[in-house]
């Protein structure tokens, strides 16, 4: 076994510090060291997307990074969005459009959608399909997810509008 | 998986035979690290570390030489297994003289690959396999050239 390495990292705005083996995958670190189990593990070879998190704002596979590589970086996970009582607009949209069935792929899906909707504020159906193409879902056939993203885009536009109008 | 092919060596048949029949030389064909030791006249055992790009697979196994008709033909049976899976190959090798200074090696065989190597790496087996065989022959040919040069 190799020596433990000190990992200081910011997750959802909170600073964490742990001692881990270099080989610990970032997703295992987030889930089992930090107890943030909303990020899931589906394939551990970078294909399914259930472990998608935001790493310095960009969606990446947390099964293909080591925790030691996160030192000094900012991570955002599903727990960093809304709460059960106050859902984030994207989460609200997923609820209204029935974008989740078993819910296993959902956190990763949402983490892919979030930066996409920042870059593309009025996406077409095809653009949405491409944006979520790196996240597998076996339950929904993606249709309600796509509708949820369309709805989320509207909600975010409204939110921007109300911020602009100072409401 | 069927294996079949040929390679033209730049040397006389006797010399090529000596090389093919020398497991220490054969072992150098595999990219990685090898330790082979002879356990009896026709059988060798050892550990092989195959290195292809990021993949490094350790195998333990044995190599058996049979049906020898020096310097014309023999059968090589190799078996190895490790955490990445296993491989079993049987190859029949025939050496044909092409004039006095060239020898055509023809081989036919059967290769069984199993475990992770197959379930994860199937799509790469063909290109990696071909490449390993060709590079292996090139290495043998280089060794042959060195030996011939040393003799002359």
């Amino acid at each position: 076994m190799s020596d433990l390495i000190n990992v200081k990292v910011t997750v959802n705005g909170m600073a964490y510090e742990r001692e881990v083996e270099p080989r610990m995958l970032l997703v295992d670190f987030i889930r089992h060291e930090l107890g943030l189990t909303g990020t899931h593990v589906g394939c551990e070879h970078g294909v399914c997307g259930t472990c998608t998190i935001l790493f310095d704002g960009s969606p990446v596979r947390s099964c293909l990074l080591f925790a030691v590589q996160a030192v000094g970086h900012e991570i955002r996970t599903i727990e960093g969005l809304g709460t059960i009582d106050h859902l984030h607009p994207v989460q609200e949209a997923f609820r209204e459009a029935h974008g989740a069935q078993c819910g296993f792929c959902t956190p990763g899906m949402i983490m892919s959608v979030l930066p996409f909707l920042e870059e593309n504020q009025d996406p077409t159906e095809q653009e949405i399909r491409e944006a979520i193409d790196g996240n597998l879902c076996r339950c929904t056939g993606y249709q309600h997810i796509i509708q949820a993203v369309e709805l989320a885009s509207d909600k975010l536009a409204e939110q921007r509008q109300s911020v602009k109008e100072g409401r | 998986m069927k294996l079949e092919g040929e390679y033209l060596f730049n040397g006389p048949r006797e010399e090529v035979w000596n090389i093919v029949r020398d497991p220490d030389v054969l072992a150098t064909c595999i990219p990685g690290t090898q330790t082979l030791k002879q356990v009896n006249e026709n059988e060798y055992e050892g550990a092989i570390g195959v290195r292809i790009g990021p993949v490094n697979a350790a195998f333990t196994g044995k190599l058996t030489v049979s049906d020898e008709i020096p310097p014309e033909s023999c059968t090589l049976t190799a078996e190895g297994k490790g955490a990445a899976g296993f491989a079993r190959g049987v190859g029949h090798v025939v050496l044909e003289e092409q004039g006095s200074d060239k020898t055509l090696l023809k081989y036919t065989g059967e290769l069984i690959i199993g475990g992770k190597l197959m379930s994860v790496g199937q799509r790469l087996i063909d290109s990696v396999g071909k490449s390993m065989i060709n590079k292996g022959f090139e290495t043998l040919d280089k060794t042959l050239a060195t030996r011939l040069a040393a003799k002359s």
Binding site: M1, R23, R31, H32, L36, T37, G38, V41, G42, C43, E44, H45, V47, C48, I78, E79, L81, G82, T83, I84, D85, L87, Q91, R95, H98, A100, Q101, C102, G103, F104, C105, T106, P107, E125, I128, R129, E130, I132, N135, L136, C137, R138, C139, T140, G141, Y142, Q143, I146 | K81, A83, G85, F86, I113, G114, G115, K116, M118, S119, V120, R123
Partner: protein
């Protein structure tokens, strides 16, 4: 019926937890001192175990225990049969061979566990796998299902003397006589390959034996928690009350998670009791490909006999089914194939025979669709061949043979997975065809659009397929409905949930009866301490069977509410209204009592009660259907084929679906979409490829593809409703609908697109490589 909640597109109660990452899945369970297990699995599909040396593994720091089958002593034995053999079918042959905890003397499929490592972390456990030295002697594997049944084949079980696991023949009418009178008889050889279920969450298990309370808690990704509890307690020699199985949020089931007493469950509960410490095992994706049960591999020789005007006289189907190394799940899959082949058609003479073979491959159990899609594929291919031969439009030949709405209930005479002669309860197939054709603008497509596009050199084609889906089979489910002092309602049932929205649809059923908001109804599924009778979630039965049981319980609670409220408020029951979590008089709305207050009255803490009084506003009820409810529908699909690259694109996908009364259309749509995506996967990609030595060649998501968002068409759904007369709510299941007809419609559409080539698609999936081969063959023939 005027409803407030039932039948409405209501948002799901479970979603806030799911969407915020707060939903508890098995791998999220963390316990103090929890150990982690992993299994050494065989690389060989068939081998003899000479010896296993675990000493080096045991010596590795962090390793707590390593066990092989030999360590299990008498506890090691083959598991129970999960589904009984269909002895109701005369002459059935069934040779039982069930799964074992770990291979002891002989390995019978690649991926079969031969040792378990229990360590302080999964990382260390995996390190230790490489320390185990297993001396395995490879034996000739049985790989090909047809060759398995030929004389001289190597045997999966030497003691059995054959690889024949089952043989079933069923006949309704007399096919041979019908064929003798037919104007045309058409034959087809059809191959259906193996695939996975591919839930995004792999299997998982956390087991905790508490020596002080002598109690075992198991968190499992199971579709059948009660069956698992009952079975494990039996195997472990515990009372059922000592075992609690919890199926928390489960990340997709699709069939294989119904499979209980898998090696991991049996080995790890035993190990946890031995070690007195909790153990977690999470299957990884690689293991999911090598050890999770799979479906299919059927090879059919089918024929259809017709009159020259396209009327079906008879159908004959003889097929072999690969069951893998075991047949713990008996014959559900091939029986579903057998019962669904004739589907929506009137087939007066039907002969079906199948032989099931053991092979050195993973055990076959149902996967979404569960044999139904292949019966439909066979039949629909026959119908297409017949239409071509007779020069009929494919929709016309179907129309001429549908069962008509007035012909229900219709007895097919074939015994199905519920061991009773199959009865179709209700349906209206011509209406689903009409609806689908209207939605896809069939006439316009074939008369204008298609000729126009063909003239431009485009290969576009249409496929139209009607199907049935036997759903909601017995035996039974139950539910308990309790009004709490808060006025909120709790509901418990024995089925598990893997994303079907039971927390919401069951709440709707209850909310409608009790006049409470849907979000005030808390549903618990899959916890054996909450409800301990039931069979599980499979065969599209959750909403139908458990839904009706809960409806019955809610109706009983409603009656109790009315009775007590009438007494309390001094208002006749007929004048009482349940709404907004209170009971009030319709004529004097101010005369009212909140539901919670009534619940408190129903559970007095002092004083005397009337003789025979039951406390609380609570009731438990069960529902068991006389037989399954049959849903159905028609799919129409337009595809375009790029004959240079061999790319096939679904341009339009329409499904007219009839699953009787709908509890929540939002959820039903979602179920259809999901089914379609499996159907699309099965059409394009999903095939496990084994080499001749039984080695899996595509055991990753890089090689075994499942549909992504860009693979899916936009699905247009048309709803029809023929309520089932079998249950009070009129519900039929919908879980497998989309999966069933899609491959058949795809094959028809591709053939139609490639009409110039005169090629026949007699297999699924149809990869680009295979399409290339078929096109090349058609050019040379």
């Amino acid at each position: 019926m005027e409803t407030k909640y039932f039948g409405k597109r209501i948002q799901r109660n479970e979603d806030p937890r799911i969407l915020t990452g707060q939903a508890l899945f098995v791998d999220d369970v963390e316990l103090p001192d929890m150990l982690h297990a992993t299994f050494l699995r065989s690389d060989y599909p068939h081998a003899r175990i000479n010896s296993i040396d675990i000493s080096a593994a045991l010596a590795r720091p962090g390793v707590i225990a390593v066990y092989t089958a030999k360590d299990m002593g008498d506890y090691w034995k083959p598991g129970p049969l999960l589904v009984p053999a269909p002895t109701a079918i005369p002459g059935v042959v069934f040779n039982k061979r069930t799964q074992v905890p770990m291979a002891r003397e002989e390995i019978r499929h690649q991926g079969e566990p031969i040792a378990v490592v229990i360590a302080k972390s999964r990382y260390i456990a995996e390190d230790a796998l490489a320390d185990i030295v297993a001396d395995l002697e490879p034996l000739d594997p049985v790989v090909d299902v047809e060759k398995a049944l030929e004389p001289g084949s190597p045997l999966v079980y030497n003691d059995l003397g054959t690889n024949l696991a089952s043989h079933v023949q069923q006949e309704n009418g007399n096919y041979a006589a019908a064929a003798a009178q037919a104007d045309v008889v058409i034959k087809a050889h059809i191959v259906i390959d193996r695939g996975i279920a591919g839930a995004m969450e792999n299997r998982g298990l956390v087991v905790q034996w508490d020596p002080k309370s002598q109690h075992l808690t198991v968190w499992a990704t199971t579709q059948a928690p009660i069956a698992l509890r009952n079975g494990l307690s039996g195997i472990l020699g515990l009372s059922e009350s000592q075992v609690r199985v919890i199926a928390p949020f489960v990340g997709g089931g699709f069939g294989p998670k119904i499979m209980v007493f898998q090696p991991e469950e049996v080995v790890l509960t035993w190990a946890s009791m031995k070690l007195g410490l909790p153990i977690k095992y999470i299957e990884d994706r690689q293991e999911n490909f090598l050890a999770m049960t799979q479906e299919r591999n059927q090879i059919h020789d089918a024929e259809i006999a017709l009159t020259k005007d396209g009327k079906i006289l008879g159908v004959k189907d003889v097929f072999v089914q690969d069951t893998g190394a075991f047949n713990s799940y008996a014959l559900t899959v091939p029986l579903n194939t057998q019962t669904h082949t004739t589907g929506p058609y009137k087939v007066p003479n039907y002969y079906s025979e199948f032989r099931v073979a053991f092979t050195d491959r993973i055990l076959v159990t149902p996967v979404r669709g569960a044999g139904r899609p292949y019966g439909v594929f066979v039949m629909e291919r026959l119908m297409d061949l017949a239409a071509k031969k007779l020069g009929l439009d494919p929709t016309e030949i179907r129309r001429r043979n549908y069962l008509q709405p007035e012909e229900f209930p219709y007895r097919t005479g074939i015994i199905g997975q519920d061991f009773a002669k199959n009865i179709l309860d209700s349906g209206n197939y011509p209406a689903t065809l009409d609806k689908a054709l209207e939605m896809i603008e069939y006439e316009q497509f074939i008369k204008e659009e298609q000729p126009k596009l063909r003239a431009q050199g485009k290969h576009v084609g249409i496929g139209v397929v009607t199907f049935t889906e036997g759903t909601g089979v017995g035996p039974y489910e139950g539910g308990r409905v309790t009004v709490e002092a808060s006025g909120k309602v709790s509901v418990a049932t024995g089925v598990g949930t893997q994303g079907q929205g039971h927390y919401t649809s069951f709440a709707q059923v209850v909310a409608e009866q009790l006049g409470v908001p849907v979000e005030d109804v808390r549903v618990v599924t899959g916890d054996t301490d909450q409800f301990h009778w039931g069979a599980g979630t499979f065969a599209s039965r959750g909403a139908t069977v458990a839904g009706n049981a809960i409806h019955a319980a809610a109706s009983l609670v409603r009656a109790k509410i009315l009775k007590l409220a009438s007494k309390t408020l001094q208002v006749p029951e007929e004048d009482l209204v349940l709404e907004n979590s209170e009971i009030h008089s319709a004529t004097h709305p101010t005369t009212c009592i909140p539901l919670g207050e009534l619940a408190v009255k129903a559970n007095p803490s002092r004083g005397a009660v009337e003789p025979g009084a039951e406390p609380g506003l609570e009731a438990t009820a069960y529902y068991g259907p006389p037989y399954g409810a049959t849903a159905g529908g028609t799919v129409a699909m337009i595809v375009e084929v790029d004959t240079e690259l061999m790319r096939v694109e679904i341009k339009r996908y329409v499904i007219a679906h009839d699953c009787g009364t709908v509890i929540n259309p939002l959820i039903v749509d979602g179920q259809i979409h999901g089914g379609v995506s499996l159907g699309v996967g099965n059409s394009f990609f999903e095939k496990l490829v084994y080499d001749e030595n039984g080695q899996l060649m595509n055991g990753t998501f890089m090689d075994y593809l499942i549909p992504r968002a860009t693979d899916m068409p936009y699905i247009e759904i048309g709803h029809l409703s023929t309520p089932s007369p079998l249950n009070p709510l009129g519900i039929k299941g919908v879980g497998e609908a989309g999966a069933i007809p899609t491959p058949a419609a795809f094959a028809q559409a591709v053939e139609n697109a490639l009409a110039d080539y005169n090629l026949e698609v007699r297999e699924i999936p149809l990869s680009p490589n295979r399409l290339f081969e078929l096109l090349e063959e058609s050019k040379t023939s």
